[in-house]
Structure formats: structure tokens, C-alpha cells
Amino acid sequence: MTQSAWLSILVMGVVSFVIRALPLTLIRRQIKSRFIRSVLYYLPYVTLAVMTVPAILHISENPMVGLVSLVASGVTAWFSKNLFLSAAVACIATLVMSIV
């Protein structure tokens, strides 16, 4: 595990660096394709959504825990736009739902 963890960390660092540095160094042209620019625009929203659901529903044995946490922090995000508040609501909702 330990060795593969370090190799994994190396891969994470290298891939992240190459993506960030490439447009500033070797490939210095604008992204002309409207399709590619559109894909890159939507990509983070889709990835984060897909990594949030269903994972949050499996946070506890009881899927209601994650569902309440999801809805509560989602509504908070819509109205407050505050990252920290939304995270705190997710934690508190999970805690409360796990206890009751």
C-alpha cells in the first residue's frame, strides 16, 4: 500500500502539473474549437455533481442521512453562495440524522 500510495501521489502531481503548465509552455495557442471550450466549461460542474451523488447517499447505512445532508447543503448553497456554510450544514445535517 505504502509504495503504491507514493506512486499514486507522483502520478497525481505529474498529471496535474502537465495540464496546468502545457498551455503556458509548449502549446501556447488559444483553444479555437467552440465545442472543446464548451466541454471544458461544463466539465467541472458535471464531475463534481457525479462525485457527490450517489457517494453522499452512501455516507451512512441509512440513505436518508445523506439525502437530508444533500438537500440541506444544496439549498444553503443556492441561497448563501457560502462554501463554508454549505459544508457546515452538510456536517450538521449528517450528525443530526445519524443520532436521531
Binding site: R37, T76, S86
Partner: protein
Amino acid sequence: MQQTKSKIFLRGMRDGIPIALGYFVVAFSLGIHAKQAGLNWFQGYVMSFVTHASAGEKAGLISIGAGNTLWLLALFMLVANARYLLMSTALSQKIRPELSVWQRMVIGFCVTDELFGVSVAYPGYLDPAYLYGAALSAIPSWALGTALGIVAGELLPALAVTALSAAIYGMFLAVIIPPCRADKRLILVVAASLLISWLTDIIPAFAALSARVSGYESYRVIVLTVVISAAAAILMPHDEEVAQ
């Protein structure tokens, strides 16, 4: 001249402090997940120092936790971090053309959503010293937050860890939901992503697939991300430049 450079550097460091505070919280919640993926605090510190990307690191942790191959991990990192291509491309127009490749590589290393944000807000050509200052405040804080999140994950009782592990999802929602208010197409994209992703969890055929395919969860996120983003790009092309 030297005086001016160090002043710009210090101004960057100062502007990086609010970013650093936010990063600490995000990274701490990532640390909880890093602990669950089996990393120790030092591995978490190094991972966050070199990667410093919330979606990218969560992707990496899914992959590490599942024992995926390094190729799959690399592909997942590429998809989860691809948006930096847009930011770095925009930033390449914001720096002096004569800057050396070395400087450009360091600038590239420093690109995150927030550091990109303060960089494009810099008047005129971006002075690299400013970005380095901001990055020196922000990135170590990100790494430290991760390390402490891992330690907390080891020390706290299971209930507290479960509650804290929800934080990262609350943050992801706080990243993707507020922009929906300004760009209504995003409501459609986010809602479709959540719904389709949920369907893959309840349709029995996918459960059967997950039992047979090693690295299933990583492939699932990669395929859904690429397919849904491409569909959105075809149906609702996006025209604005990323730079403000």
C-alpha cells in the same frame, strides 16, 4: 527595482491569506477522505502540495482507495483537472511574452481556481512575483489542512468522521449550485448530472457491472463526466471567454 519586486511579492502573500483560510477548510475535509483512502498525514501533505485541486484530489482518492491502476488514476486526474487547460490558456495571455519557460512552469504549477482569479484581476501584465506570493500563502495552507484532516480522521470517533466526511460534498455543491443562478443552462446540466449519476446507483445492471469491472467507480465518473459535458456542449454551446 528589487524593493518593488519584494513589495509585489508581499502584496501577493497578503492577498493569498483569505484564499489560504478557505483552502484550509476544503483541504481539511479532503483529509478526512484521504484517511479513508488509506493515506497517512505525510502522504496527504505531499499529495495536496503537488496537486492542490479539490475535484482532482477527490478523484485521486477514489482511485487510490479502490486500488486502481496508475493508468486509470492518470486518466481520472486528466478528466477531473481538465478545466485548468482553460485557465492556463487564459493566463498565457496575461503574462509577458518574453517570460522564460522556467517561470512559465512555476506559474503553471500555481494555477488553481482562486489563484487564477486573483491573477486575472491583476492590473496589466501579471507580475509573477505577485502570483508566487499568493501561492506561497495558499498552497502550504491547503497541504497543512489535508494533513490535519487525516490526523483528525484518525483521532475522532466514527460518528464525527462520518459527519465531517459530508463536508466535501457540501463544498462541491457550493461550487456548482450558485453559478446556476446566473447561467440557467447550468441548472439543466447539474440536475441532469445528479439524476443520471443517481440512476447508475439504483439500476441493477450497473450494480452487476460494478461487481465485474475493476476500477468501476473511476470509469463511471470519467464516462459520465465526458458524455454529459459533451452532450451539454453540443446542445448548449458556450461562447464567453473564461477570463473576466
